[in-house]
């Protein structure tokens, strides 16, 4: 059970999240894919922390989780505001900032 196993799994999870972020049209589904990518990054941090015997990786994952919680709260508030103003959950309909 080496470091490589965990890094490959982390890469696969990250790619899954990235593909979902690009393919999905629903804003909440895109948001879920962001969480998936954060989770994949966390996994590689913990794997490096374990195999290099450094505590820093654990601390960074702790902070990533805090930021993820904050990001979820703010992002969902933005989604609620968008739904209230545009009455849609599709990212294609929120294009007023598109050039």
């Amino acid at each position: 059970m080496g470091l490589l196993h965990f890094l490959i799994l982390s890469m696969l999870l990250f790619v899954t999240g990235a593909v979902g972020f690009i393919v999905k049209r629903n804003i909440i589904a895109m948001f879920l894919c962001i969480e998936l990518m954060l989770n994949a990054a966390n996994l590689s941090f913990i794997a490096f922390s374990r195999f290099l015997n450094l505590v820093d990786g654990q601390i960074i994952v702790f902070f990533v989780m805090v930021v993820a919680a904050v990001e979820a709260a703010v992002g969902l508030a933005i989604i609620i505001a968008l739904y209230r103003n545009r009455n849609t959950l599709s990212a294609d309909d929120a294009d007023s900032m598109k050039w």
Partner: protein
């Protein structure tokens, strides 16, 4: 080898549920798949000897954050409120049945559990990089400033969410 078998079990569960997040057309099911994915990754953290992060992953990530997600999904997505109402009613009964089953299994285990005589894994408490002692020490010495700054960040986020989600008075 127990550890290898568990790694492949959790890795397969994490990957399968991650793919299900993409494949599901209903965002409600995507969120539930993501909960399974987060719990599987928590199992991987335990294999990596990081019990604290694994616990935080389940309690904060799969618990608190995903509940906020599901709350917003049920608020905005009309489909999710229809699930419980009509054709998927049997799923609710199966859920209640499984919950009762889990409770009957867990209750005697938790009653018999004696914390003072429980077998301890010394590496989880002090020793490896994932141990609670080393993590706590690092968090309150080297990383004290970032730790305090996160509290300011959360305060800013709370104020921002109230401003964003507040119903505008007129236009």
């Amino acid at each position: 080898m127990m550890e290898t078998a568990l790694f492949y079990l959790f890795a397969a569960a994490a990957l399968a549920s991650a793919v299900m997040v993409l494949v599901n057309r209903k965002v409600f099911y995507s969120a539930l798949s993501l909960v399974i994915c987060l719990c599987s990754v928590a199992g991987l953290y335990l294999i990596l000897e990081s019990p604290f992060i694994a616990a935080v992953q389940i309690i904060v990530y799969a618990g608190a954050i995903m509940v906020v997600f599901l709350f917003v999904i049920m608020l905005l997505d009309p489909f999710s409120s229809e699930i419980l109402r009509d054709k998927k009613r049997c799923l609710a009964y199966i859920g209640v049945l499984l919950g009762v089953l889990a409770a009957t299994i867990l209750y005697p285990v938790l009653r018999a559990y004696n914390l003072a005589r429980a077998p301890r894994n010394p590496g989880f408490i002090e020793g490896g990089a994932g141990s609670v002692a080393r993590m706590g020490h690092a968090l309150f010495s080297d990383y004290l400033l970032p730790f305090e700054m996160t509290s300011v960040l959360i305060l800013i986020a709370v104020v921002g969410v109230v401003v964003l989600a507040k119903r505008q008075a007129s236009g």
